[in-house]
């Protein structure tokens, strides 16, 4: 009875268009009131604890802040220049460079639609100009944009570890190989297409130019190295790494790249300026720029945008913790697991069911909402069937990637439709072949757990566990 009430209320509230956070909270509180003896005061206490007792959750606002500073057109441009200089000379190089740029920008920004918007609006037009079919260009970018939630640091993974109490550091280790593999897979397919249809390649710009553009892009890319390095090395927790990343991202955006803030657009060296003057002027400006950012309009807007998104996510998570509490006290995952055991469903069969369920849910809901509702249910079942929780997490994230490409809620489709000016049907058609590739990749991830588990286990063995 309690189970039916909980889910009926949840879906009824959600489909009425209510904010998901409140739908989760209301259905959980009502179920608690109807079927258990908990007082409202104890529920209020739980909600306050959910927002104030989880140090790991702090990583979410910090990563959102750091990506807000670096999700700008300027950073996208620098990354694209670097990618074109490094792989552009191969056949189909421009498309491969776009995929590489998507992977790098996705890792920095952690958001899939932002990646498609930033990289797509530059490279799709560029690819069409150098003779690629527009459909191919749009399809590739829309698909590789989804890598944003798989390549660490990823917000969606932090949400998964909040929902299941799996270590976020280990999730970040597990996502790296699948993310890079998916990017590589896309590049290989592009190379084959390029060979067959004779797509153009760019001239190689020379190692000097490559080093130059690499150095410029490194300012933003260092963020990935700092975060992953400190987490993989076990020096810092994700929360600490994220706080350092946010401060670093601010410095790069305001002082280094000067894309925003009080010294926006001021060149490092003016024409004909002496070295001494360059040094003194830059030092004075840089030191001045940091306090001046406090009341700078652009910097304020970036912080406010980050505040809006992180507060929304954390409010959902707080309510989802009430939801998870109801699930455990009513032993819902436990009874589902028992039923499945009775059916004699093997682990691989369960994983098929998981994939189908998640793919359907991905059509209607945002990744974070799906994870927070589904993970607490699937997690205990998976553990009983002997599936590694980290592996389950990666499977869920890859499913969420596909969800971003399926109508009616596929975010990436809307962005591509927006930047190319074509209608949704055209975009869906362009994405279709690439989505099949993604489905094939999902099968690989699902049935070869080593792809996800190799790196975390290897790092454990290095540390002597």
């Amino acid at each position: 009875m309690a189970t039916a009430t909980l889910f009926l209320l949840l879906f009824a509230c959600m489909f009425m268009g209510m904010p998901i956070a409140i739908a989760l909270g209301l259905s959980s509180v009502s179920t608690i009131l109807m079927f258990s003896n908990d007082s409202l005061a104890s529920i209020a206490l739980k909600l306050f604890e959910a927002t104030s007792e989880h140090y790991t959750l702090l990583a979410i606002p910090f990563f959102i802040l750091s990506s807000a500073f670096l999700s700008t057109g300027g950073v996208a441009k620098r990354i694209i220049d670097f990618a074109i200089d490094s792989v552009g000379h191969i056949k189909g190089g421009l498309a491969m460079a776009s995929i590489m740029a998507c992977m790098l920008f996705a890792a920095v920004s952690g958001s899939s639609p932002a990646t498609v918007a930033a990289i797509g609006s530059i490279v799709i037009a560029g690819m069409v100009r150098s003779g690629y079919p527009e459909k191919l260009a749009a399809g590739v970018i829309t698909t590789s944009g989804t890598l944003g939630i798989l390549i660490p640091p990823s917000i969606v993974m932090l949400v998964y570890s909040a929902a299941t109490e799996v270590s976020a550091s280990r999730m970040f280790m597990a996502g790296l190989i699948p993310g890079v593999m998916m990017g590589f897979l896309l590049m290989v397919v592009i190379y084959i297409v390029a060979r067959v249809t004779n797509l153009p390649s760019q001239p190689f710009p020379g190692f000097l130019q490559l080093a130059r553009s690499g150095g410029i892009a490194m300012g933003g890319l260092m963020l990935i190295i700092i975060v992953l390095g400190s987490i993989y090395g076990g020096i810092a927790s994700p929360t600490e790494a994220a706080a350092a990343a946010a401060v670093y991202a601010f410095l790069v955006a305001v002082v280094g790249y000067r894309d925003m803030g009080p010294i926006k657009g001021v060149p490092w060296r003016k024409e004909g300026e002496g070295m001494g003057s360059v040094f003194v002027r830059n030092t004075v400006q840089m030191v001045g720029a940091i306090p001046r950012s406090i009341y700078n309009k652009e910097v304020n807007k970036v912080v406010l945008d980050a505040a809006k998104v992180s507060m929304m996510l954390l409010f959902i998570i707080a309510n989802a913790m009430l939801f998870a509490h109801v699930l455990t006290t009513e032993r819902i995952p436990h009874s589902v697991a028992e039923t499945i055991m009775q059916w004699g469903l093997p682990a691989w069969g369960f994983l098929i069911v998981v994939n189908v369920l998640l793919l359907i849910a991905g059509n209607f809901m945002e990744p974070t909402a799906i994870l927070l509702i589904m993970a607490p249910i699937l997690f205990p079942i998976a553990v009983q069937l002997g599936i590694d929780p980290i592996h389950l997490g990666i499977i869920m994230v890859v499913n969420m990637e596909i969800g971003m490409l399926t109508p009616p809620v596929g975010l990436n489709l809307f962005v591509t439709a927006g930047i190319t000016g074509h209608n949704m049907i055209w975009v869906i058609k362009s994405v279709l072949p690439w989505m099949l590739l993604l489905l094939f990749f999902l099968m690989l991830i699902t049935y070869i757990p080593q792809i996800s588990l190799f790196l975390p286990e290897y790092i454990d063995s290095l540390k002597g566990y």
Binding site: M18, I20, G25, F48, V303, A307, M311, M312, V415
Partner: protein, 189 residues
């Protein structure tokens, strides 16, 4: 005028909380790696700020439409049916707030009566009673009630059909617009 001022106030408070949380954790990292020291009250203060950030921010989120939800189905309904559904939904949201307001009132009252203090955080050597940071529950949910009443009025007066929900795809488009502006600037040079 008053609306604008309240807006500014809410925004500045939220930004201030976010920035202070970041800097406090960052300072702790620097203290640990650079000086081999710790700030023993940092964790409790940061976490309390997070609670304020989330619970205070929830109502601001309703106003500016930063919450996410599923509105593909209600948007297919005829307009008046959509409005009726939204009114019911707002009623349920108010019920949710009411439950939490009552629960928080009892909980904060109990904390006040027992007189528990915070573990590490002290203000000028004085212990801080725990009910003070916890009272954000009451503040947050009261503000949320206000926001939902405003929205309800909006639906009655035909100013709104449904909840104002976030659209991440639309928000990402501003990067595309920014790039377009950059390109046009370069071409005109």
């Amino acid at each position: 005028m008053l609306g604008k001022m309240i807006n500014r106030l809410e925004e500045s408070f939220l930004c201030l909380l976010l920035v202070s949380m970041t800097l406090l954790v960052f300072a702790e990292v620097v203290a640990r790696f650079g000086f081999n020291a710790g700030i023993h009250w940092a964790q409790e203060v940061t976490l309390t700020m997070m609670a304020w950030f989330v619970l205070f921010g929830a109502s601001y989120g309703v106003k500016v439409g930063s919450h996410i939800g599923v509105d593909v189905f209600v948007k297919m309904l005829p307009r008046d049916v959509h409005r009726a559904v939204t009114m019911v939904a707002i009623g349920l949201c108010l019920f949710y707030c009411g439950l939490f307001l009552y629960g928080s009132w009892v909980y904060v009252g109990k904390l006040h009566m027992i007189g528990i203090t915070m573990d590490d955080a002290k203000v000028m050597g004085e212990e801080v009673p725990k009910w003070i940071p916890t009272s954000v529950l009451l503040i947050g949910f009261s503000l949320l009630v206000v926001r939902f009443l405003v929205l309800f009025w909006g639906v009655i007066t035909h100013k709104a059909d449904g909840f104002h929900l976030a659209d991440e795809a639309k928000e990402s488009m501003h990067i595309a617009d920014q790039l377009k502006a950059m390109q046009e600037k370069e071409e005109s040079k």
